[in-house]
């Protein structure tokens, strides 16, 4: 019962962008090429046979750095210049695609101490911003840490 004839869409409609999103990139390229071939009389063109662009397997490289895998040019031996020695390790490690071991930052303050400091910090700063009424609610813990009390005085609706 359903019409089995496909509705014929016009060429212009097919060329619109929203119709082309579904197409593969290859078909898109082909369509583009075909469009380019439609040469109007205003365009000047060479009457040559069609030439397809071949994939070139040749890459031109002028720098020796990549061809011979050269080392970094700045070097220092026996600790003459410690910064350059650090650089040497970094740059040459990059070349060999090894992971640089030097990224371990030494911790001055351990994680636990940091957490403890943060706890007290939250309390003291919170106290600064609390209203006068609430400041009295801040208790002092045994260790001297200030802990804020979370209970707030809310408005209680009067019961009729």
């Amino acid at each position: 019962m359903a019409a089995e004839r496909k509705t014929k869409l016009s060429k212009n409609l097919l060329r619109m962008k929203f119709m082309q999103r579904g197409l593969d990139s290859e078909t898109k390229k082909q369509l583009e090429e075909e469009e380019k071939k439609i040469i109007s009389e205003e365009h000047w063109y060479l009457d040559l046979p069609e030439l397809k662009e071949k994939e070139s397997f040749i890459i031109e490289e002028q720098s020796f750095l990549l061809c011979e895998d050269l080392l970094y040019g700045r070097m220092s031996f026996r600790g003459f210049n410690p910064e350059v020695e650090k650089l040497m390790l970094q740059m040459n490690a990059k070349n060999k695609a090894e992971e640089v071991e030097e990224e371990t930052v030494e911790l001055d303050v351990s994680d636990e101490e940091m957490a403890r400091r943060y706890e007290t910090l939250v309390g003291t700063i919170g106290k600064k911003f609390a209203k006068k009424r609430d400041r009295a609610n801040y208790e002092e813990d045994e260790n001297g840490d200030i802990k804020p009390i979370k209970t707030r005085k809310m408005f209680l609706k009067p019961q009729d």
Binding site: Q62, S63, F64, L65, E68, D69, L70, L71, Y72, G73, R74, M75, S76, F77, R78, G79, F80, N81, E83, V84, L87, M91
Partner: protein
């Protein structure tokens, strides 16, 4: 020497005109180096570069149609060892082939040289080497060795190194 993009070279500042330095790299033309191409350089904060200074930098533009341009900064904006090369030391020229041999990953010459005494070397791909050691004598010895390595065989080299190690 033919400037190639991406090559690290040692250049000598020959002139300072306006915002750029003219740097002699041993090619057919002097390369231009903008004063902003240093780490941490701004319009107010100019780098301390004088005429006659040695610069270690890399080429950003280097083709046969244009004047070569170099910079002392990498793509992230860090210096990475480039910039003005410090005081003292000696700059001398060798052949380009020798530089490439010395910078090869498995270079014995450098390993042996490094065992002699504390020193610092900078290799420029344009055939220039800058060396620095604690005394002038050591620096000169180093320069002579590197220049002579061009023509020596491995055995001769080892002889010389052993003689030096003794003295």
């Amino acid at each position: 020497y033919v400037p190639v993009k991406g090559d690290h070279v040692i250049g000598i500042v020959t002139a300072k005109s306006g915002d750029i330095f003219k740097v002699d790299v041993g090619g057919s033309e002097p390369a231009s180096l903008s004063y902003l191409a240093f780490e941490g350089a701004t319009k107010r904060n100019r780098p301390n570069v004088q005429v006659g200074d040695l610069i270690y930098g890399q080429f950003v533009v280097a083709n046969k149609d244009m004047e070569p341009e170099m910079v002392c900064i990498d793509s992230c904006g860090r210096a990475c060892g480039m910039g003005v090369i410090g005081q003292d030391g000696l700059l001398f020229k060798v052949t380009l082939g020798l530089i490439r041999r010395l910078l090869a990953p498995d270079c014995e010459i450098l390993q042996e040289v490094g065992k002699l005494y504390p020193l610092e070397i900078v290799f420029g791909m344009n055939g220039r080497i800058w060396v620095k050691a604690k005394t002038i004598q050591q620096t000169l010895i180093l320069a002579n060795i590197l220049e002579a390595c061009e023509h020596m065989t491995a055995d001769q080299r080892k002889q010389i190194f052993s003689r030096l190690a003794e003295s």
